[in-house]
Point group: C2
Chain length 717, copies 2
Amino acid sequence: MTKKTVADEKPRVTAEPALGSTRIPADDRKPVVVEPVVVPMPETTPAPGAAGGVADGRKRVIVEGVIPEIDGGRFPIKRTVGETVVVEADVFTDGHDSLSCVLQYRKAGETGWQEIPMRFLVNDRWRGQFQVLELGRYEYTIVAWVDAFKSWRHDLSRWVQAEDITLALRVGGQLVEKAGQRAAGDDAKWLTKRARALIGDQDLDYRRQLGLDEELARLMDRYADRRLELGYDKVLGVTVDDERARFSTWYEMFPRSCSPVPGKHGTFKDCEAWLPRLAAMGFDVLYFPPIHPIGRVNRKGKNNTLTPTPDDVGSPWAIGAAEGGHKDILPALGTLEDFRRLVQKAKEHGIEVALDIALQCAPDHPYVKQHPDWFRWRPDGTVQYAENPPKKYQDIYPFNFETGDWRALWDEIRSIFEFWIQQGVRIFRVDNPHTKPFAMWEWLIGEIKKTTPNAIFLAEAFTRPKVMHRLAKLGYNQSYTYYAWRNTKWELTEYLTELTQGPGREYFRPNFWPNTPDILTEALQFGGRPAFMSRLVLAATLTANYGIYGPAYEMMEHVAVKPGSEEYLDSEKYQVRYRGFQELDGPNSLRDFIALVNRVRKRNPALQADWNLRFHQVDNEQIICYSKATGNRANVILVVVNLDPNYTQAGFTQLNLEELGLDPHQPFEVHDLLTGAHYIWNGPRNYVELNPHRMPAHLFRIRSSLHTERDFVTFDG
Amino acid sequence: MTKKTVADEKPRVTAEPALGSTRIPADDRKPVVVEPVVVPMPETTPAPGAAGGVADGRKRVIVEGVIPEIDGGRFPIKRTVGETVVVEADVFTDGHDSLSCVLQYRKAGETGWQEIPMRFLVNDRWRGQFQVLELGRYEYTIVAWVDAFKSWRHDLSRWVQAEDITLALRVGGQLVEKAGQRAAGDDAKWLTKRARALIGDQDLDYRRQLGLDEELARLMDRYADRRLELGYDKVLGVTVDDERARFSTWYEMFPRSCSPVPGKHGTFKDCEAWLPRLAAMGFDVLYFPPIHPIGRVNRKGKNNTLTPTPDDVGSPWAIGAAEGGHKDILPALGTLEDFRRLVQKAKEHGIEVALDIALQCAPDHPYVKQHPDWFRWRPDGTVQYAENPPKKYQDIYPFNFETGDWRALWDEIRSIFEFWIQQGVRIFRVDNPHTKPFAMWEWLIGEIKKTTPNAIFLAEAFTRPKVMHRLAKLGYNQSYTYYAWRNTKWELTEYLTELTQGPGREYFRPNFWPNTPDILTEALQFGGRPAFMSRLVLAATLTANYGIYGPAYEMMEHVAVKPGSEEYLDSEKYQVRYRGFQELDGPNSLRDFIALVNRVRKRNPALQADWNLRFHQVDNEQIICYSKATGNRANVILVVVNLDPNYTQAGFTQLNLEELGLDPHQPFEVHDLLTGAHYIWNGPRNYVELNPHRMPAHLFRIRSSLHTERDFVTFDG
C-alpha cells in the first residue's frame, strides 16, 4: 500500500521529554577520530516457514486497548461532518526502547493512509486524532514501531563519559547514514552530511549537540526505519453522517389535520401554508406519520374503537388498501406530485420532510395478495395478525421475516426507502424497528447509505436497552429514548450521564421527545404550562436532537383517553383534528416560547452537541443545573430548570468553574436568553430562584470578560 | 459437526416463568373437532448469492456482550483443573418471540460440542457454566435460536377465548408433529401421538393442559427446531492449568548456600537435606536462582562491586562460561545426575523444584562465540552489553531479538526449557520476561504447554501494569506483583480488589512475595518481627500463591546494603552465605510461625483461591479485615491484621455477614488458628485488638452452628 504521509504538514510528537543540554566535563572534550564501521544488521526478511508460524518475530510492538472500538471492531463509531475522532491505545514494547506511533485514517475505498503522530500520555497510553470532513465511511487503525534513533537520542543525552559519547556517536552516525539512504533529494544529502559530521573530527561536545539537534530528530522521524513496524490487528470504521444527524429540531404533525377548514381532510397543499410558520419557529425537520392509503378491513374508529363509522379515516399505521401500499399516497392527501412539491417547498424554508416507515400491512394491502408467502398463515387459512395474547390487533398484518422468500421481501423493503428518496426524502423515522430482523436493518441502512450517505434513520424503538443499542450500533443514526419518563433530577442526571459520557455515545445519538402521538406522559397531563415549558427546555438543551408532536404540544393538550393511560383523548391517530392557526398562534399557545428556545439553540453552537454536557450541583433536588460549552469556551450555555411545576424553588449553585472556562477570581455575567435578564455572578456559589408559573428555567449565556476598572491602564500600572 | 448433547442429564432452563393453570370459562369447554391443516413453511435454505450477501436473513438471534472474553477473544482465559467457567451474554431477537440459548464447550481438538442450557437472568442477560476437568485447552461459545414452541406455549397460557385456544392448539399440533419427525424411537412416537391429541376430539381444557404439559416442553426442547440457530461469532479459549498454578507455596533459596559447613560451596546433595525441613514447613515449590556456570569475564564481587577477588563466586544471573551455558550445571553444585536426583527426592516430599530461566549471557557464554549474530555488535567490534545510561552492566550481554537469525534463537530458547523439562522440572520462574519479545513468549509457552500442559511459568516482571498484563494474557500462569510495596489498608484493599475482582483476574494470577533477593522493602527493614509476621500472613492469605526468599525471611534479615536501597547487605546474589540449621531452627527463626500459616493454608480450601476475597470494614485504618469462603460456605476464614508493627491497635469490625454465610440473629464462634483462642461473636460489630509484638494477626475459622439450648426439644416445642 502506498502511504500518503502528512508529516510535512504536521510535526510528529514524540514520547520523549524535551532534551536539555547536558554539558560534558571539559576534560572529555578532546576530539576523537574514529573510522566508520559497518555493523552487520539484518536487512532482509527471513524465509517463511520456519519456527512457530510466526511471520516475523522481530516485530516487537504491541498495540491494544484501542478506543473507540465497538464490540471488537464489529461496528463503526459515528460522527458528523467536521467532527473529530480521538483515538487512544496502549502501545508498548519489551525492554526499554523508544517507540513511535501513528494514527492512520482514510476514507473507505482509498488505498493509502493519512498518518497523524500519536502522543504519549501516561502508563503506556497514546493519543491521536483526526477530523472527518466528508460524508460516508472512514477507517482508522494504528501503526507503531521500535524507534532505534529515538532510543539512541535518549541515551546520548544521558551518557557522561567521553568514551561512551564517542561510541554512541559512531552508532548514531550509522543510523543517520541509513536514514539518508531511505531519503531522497536535499534530505538525503543533509542526512548523509550529518552522519559524517557525527563521526567526524569536530569537538565531541559539538558533535553531541549535532546528535541531539531538533532538525535531525525531525528528519529522522520522517525517514524512520519502519521495516519492523506492526499495526493494530483491526481496521476500525467511522460512519460520517450529515450534520443534521447530530443537530436537528423535529416537528411531527398529521398532514390530514392541516386543513384551514374545520372538519375537512387536510392535504399536502394545505401543509405548504404551514412551512413559513414552522421555519419561523425554528424547526428543520417536518415529520409525517405514514402518508399511504389506509386499510379498510378491520379499520379502527375514533379513540381506537373497533366500531368505526363509514366516515372514520382510520390509523395511518394500518398501511395499504386498494389504492396501493407503501409506495403510494393516500388520495385524500393529494398526489405524488403534490408531495414532491411540498418536499421542495420545505427545503426552500430550510426544512426536510421526514417520513415514517412502518413495515406492516393492513389486511387489504396489495402485498397480501401479491406476496402471500410474506405473511404467516394460520391453520384456518387466515393470515396471522399482530397479537399479544389475549390482545389482538386484527387491522395489522406483520411480515413473516422467516419466510423462505426473505430475499425478495428485503429487496422490496429497500425499494420502499429508495422510492421515497427519489421523491426527495432523506430522513426516515422507522416505526418499531425492533420487531424486524437486526440483520435486515444492518444490510438495508448500509445499502441506502452507499448511495445516499446523508440519509438519516431515526429508530422508534421504545424497548429494552440492549435492543435499542443494537439498532444504533448496526446503523440507526438517531434513536428515541426514555427521556419522556425521566423526570427527577437524579433520573435525568443518571440517564444523561450514560447517554453523553458512556461508551454508547460512540454510536447511540439520542433524540429527545417530550411527547409523541403515543406518549402523553403524566408529567404533561398534570403539570400544566410549567411542565410543558420545562420539559421542552430540557429536551431542547440536554440533547442536540429533539422533537415535539407539535400541534398538541403548542396547545398543551393534556387530556388522556382514560385515567392511567398515556394515549391522547380524541387522538389524531384515529381521526382528523382541526388545527387552526387562529388557535395555534393565539395567546394560549406555546408558539413563541418554543420559537425562542429554538432560536437560542440555533445561535449557540454549544447546544448543538451532546458530549459537552456537564452537570453542576444545586442544593435543591427540584432544581437541575447543567452547562454546555464549545471546545474553545467561546460559547458557554448554563441551564437551570425548576423541575417542580407547582412551586417556586430556590437554591445555591455549586458551579464547576473550570468546565465553564471561568476564572475563579473574576466575576462573570450570566445573560438569561429567555427573559433578557442580566446578572453578575461570582465564584461557584450563586443564588437561583425560579417561579414555574412565570418562567421555569434560566437559559444563560455566560460572558466571562466583564469590563472592570482593571481594563484601564492606571497610573500605577 | 456432530453435536453431543447433555440434555438428557440436565434439564433445560427456559426464560419463561412457570405456567399457572389458566382456567377456561365453562362455556368454552365444548369439544371442537378440527382437521389438521398443513401450513406451508419454508423448509429449504434459500439459494445463495441473492440480496446483500447475507447468508440467511431468517436467522434473527443476536449474541453479544459475552464475558469472559479477553481482548475480543484474542487470548484465552485461565482456569485450573476442576474449576468452573461461568459465561454470560446478552441474547435477544427482534420482536417478542421466546428464545433458547445454550453454552457450548469442548476440549480443543474435539469436533463435537457439549451443550449446557443457559438461564435467563434479567435485561436480556443469560448465564451458563461448565467445569474444566482436564489439563490443556478448552473452547466455548454460545448458540441461540428463536424457539417457536416456547413462544407458542407462552401464548397458549394466555389465550382466554375458546376460538383462540382451538386455533392455537392446531398451530401447536403442527409444531409437535414436526418435532416428532425430528425425533426417533419412543420419543418420536410419543410426540406424534401428542400432536394428534392436541388437535383431537378431547375436551378443550384438557387439550390445553396437554399443550402446557412439562413433559411435552422437555421433549420439544430436546427436539427443538434449530435450523435457524445462530452462534456467537467467536470461539473463545480457556487454558486449564495444573492446580499448583492456582495454589502454591514457594521457597526460594540459593543452593550454593546450602552446605552444612560454613564457608563451603553448597551442592545439590546438600540441598537434599533441606527437603524434609521444607516439606514440614509446608512449601511445595523449591525455587533456585540460575544453576548454570557463571561467567568469569567482568564478574561482580561481593555486594555488587566491580573488583572481585579470585575466589568470588559471581552472580548466578551472569550465565555461561567455559563449562557451558543454559543447559549446563555449575560444577560446584554437582552433576546433572545430582540435579535429577534432587528433583526426584523433592517430588517424594511433595515439592517441585522450580528453575529460574534468565535469557541473558555472560561475556564468556558459549553462545557468544557460537552465535555472534544473536548479539548486538558495536562499531568498536565489541558486543553490546546491558546498559541504562549512564549505568553499564558489562557482565551481561542481552540477546539481540531483532537478529535476522531470530528463528534459530527462538528455537534454542525453547530447547532450554525442553531440556530442563526432560530433567523433571515443570515450573519456571522467568527472569525479566518483559525485556524479551512478547510474541516469543506467546509462541514458546504455547509450544511447551502442548506437550507439557502442567508446566507453570511465573513472570518476574516488575514493570508497568500494561506490560505485566500482556505477559499474563499471552500465557504466563503466575505473575509477580506490586504486593511488596503495598502497605496501607487503602493500598492493599484497592490492589487486591483489582486483582481478585477486576477483569484481569481471568488471566493474571498473582503470586505474592514479601521479599526476594532483590527486594528488601522498607517495611521489613524497619518493622521488625511484627512486620515479618504480618507481611507473611497477608501474602499467604490474600492470594493463594505466595512465596518467600526463605532463609533470609526465616531469619528476618533486614539490613540493606546502604540507606535507601532495597538490596540486601552481603547479598547471596554475589556471595555464598552460611545457612546452618542450628540458626534456622533456633529460637530467633520464624520457622514455626511460617509452618503454622502454611498448615492453615493447606487445611482450609477457602485460602486456596483468589476470587473469593472479600473485605470487611474496621473502624481503624491500621487494622485490615477480610474473609475467604468456599462456595458452599463450608469453610470460612476471617483474617484480621494489625498493619502497625509498633503499637497495639483495636477497633470494631463491620462484618458482611452474608459473605460469611452467617445468620444475623445467631451468635457464631471464631477460632483463631494462630493462637488457638475461641471467641463467641454476634452480628457484624465485634471488638478486635492486636498487639503486634505478641501476634499481629487473627486467622479465624468461623463456625456458624453453635450448640445452644435451642438444639434441645423443650416441653414447649
